[in-house]
Amino acid sequence: MFVPCGDWVPDLTGFTLLMPAVSVGNVGQLAIDLIISTLNMRKIGYFYTDCLVPMVGNNPYATAEDNSTELSTNAEVYSLPARKLVALQLRSIFIKYKSKSFCEKLLSWVQSSGCAKVIVLSSSHSYQRNDLQLRSTPFRYLLTPSVHKRIQNKIESLNWQEMEKSPCIPQMDDSEFCVRVPGGGITKTLYDESCSKEIQMAILLKFVSEGDNIPDALGLVEYLNEWLQIIKPCSDDPTTPALPWKIPSSWRLLFGSGLPPALF
């Protein structure tokens, strides 16, 4: 359930909700971190649930001493009212058998809060690509049928590649074809539930392998930016910074602590 930080529930009518699917390489979550950090979004509440493994830590987007001591939990909501954007960040994995329950609770909140549409940032196993997918762009999109025609037209004008259907049961030769997102976590469940509840949802994903997924996250936010224009695209002006996206301070030491000098 959504619990606001302050004493009143913010009005999210007409807002676009950005959220990650906990998926291979954690690319969706890294991408949402970049968006929250770059746009300096303000925390407006928590999504308090027993479906995610509990975790806490200090403010992952801290920029200075005075803002580094705010406690963060495993599911938090941030907003940028000027752009009518709200972002949900998920920071831990689902407890066994609780992912479907989470999707139901989440979508029920989306409907009650009046959000206009949901954009899910996700990823899929790159080793599961077929020959055609291996030769094309690694980015894909999916739209639920209730997505507004205006958005469908915009996506079409960007020449994006829709996620292809694949055999429902890969081992069977005569299996039916359906949308599958291997390694995508709750992506497929969110998509199916949104279709049946007539929620406007767009899924943006990238085919990735696990490893250092920061470049994948940067790629995914640039892909999203082509559509939403969250930040100005890279220009030829030499004064603009090379990297328009702000890396959060919590991305330090992603591969562990320092090494003992005696090792060398």
Binding site: V24, Y46, Y48, S99, G183, E210, G256, S257, G258, L259
Partner: protein, 268 residues
């Protein structure tokens, strides 16, 4: 999937935990209504029960309703428990008011009724003599203190963890906790998970003042030096006035250590 140098193809674990979900999805397709019903029944049987320890009858009201308090201290893990037992519960008269038993399908017994008293691993005590520790204050005025340990290799720092002066204390506190911690706060990108995180998350979301003192140590079993690393907390607002006799506490702790050492020596 990953290929190894030996020519095998192995299923590499996914750090996003998605292979569990795919198994669930496949299991979901194969599962019959009977399977779903069995799972629902098991979920219903899972319980956390609060009992009066001596009589083993359930508490009729929640513990905090029966014993409202302004300070709630939780120790998780053997070193944190040893610290509280030796230094805090050794001063004043503490009365055992209840225990918590829990059951889920991973327990080896059939249900909570069959759990033996020694398996009640969560016991509640309240201080009879000190009105500060129990008094009829609304929940908002309650301060929660959590003590626990973690292995020093869990601590991320730009230096090597081998060079850290363990054991050392770090703290995390909720927004509404205005107390100054008696040690430095846990720096990014370090996180805490498990029961301490669950308690702190609850307190942060529902605006209850709470502070977690985390001792990073390289000895996870009961250890004198690790327990003594918690000592600075005795002068903090959380535990102020609760530890009356520190030298006596140290003696109690030493006795606790020797009892444990004898028990763990398989050669005598």
């Amino acid at each position: 999937m990953a290929a190894t140098f030996f020519g095998e193809v192995v299923k590499a674990p996914c750090r996003a935990g998605t292979e569990d979900e795919e198994e669930e999805e496949e299991a979901g397709r194969r599962e019959t209504p009977e399977d779903r019903e069995v799972r629902r029944q098991l979920a219903r049987k899972r319980e956390v029960r609060l009992l009066r320890r001596q009589t083993k009858t359930s508490l009729e009201v929640s513990l905090l309703e029966k014993y409202p308090c302004s300070k709630f201290i939780i120790a998780i893990g053997n070193n944190a428990v040893a610290f509280l037992s030796s230094f805090v519960m050794n001063s004043g008269v503490w009365e055992e008011v209840g225990c918590a038993k829990l059951w889920n399908e991973w327990c080896r017994t059939v249900d909570t009724a069959h759990l033996s008293p020694s398996e009640a691993f969560c016991v509640f005590y309240h201080l009879k003599s000190n009105p500060l520790v129990f008094g009829s204050c609304p929940r908002r005025n309650m301060q929660i203190t959590i003590l626990t340990c973690r292995h020093v290799t869990d601590y991320k720092t730009s230096e090597s963890t081998g060079s850290l002066p363990s054991p050392f204390l770090k703290a995390l506190k909720t927004q509404n906790c205005k107390d100054t911690a008696c040690c430095s706060l846990l720096e990014q990108p370090n996180i805490v998970h498990g029961l301490p995180a669950a308690v702190l998350s609850y307190c942060q979301v529902w605006k209850i003042p709470a502070i977690l003192y985390l001792c990073y140590t390289d000895v996870m079993k009961l250890d004198l030096i690790t327990v003594e690393a918690f000592k600075p907390i005795l002068s903090s607002r959380s535990l102020k006035g609760l530890a009356k006799n520190i030298p006596q506490g140290t003696e109690v702790l030493k006795k606790l250590m020797t009892t444990n050492e004898i028990q763990s020596n398989i050669y005598t």
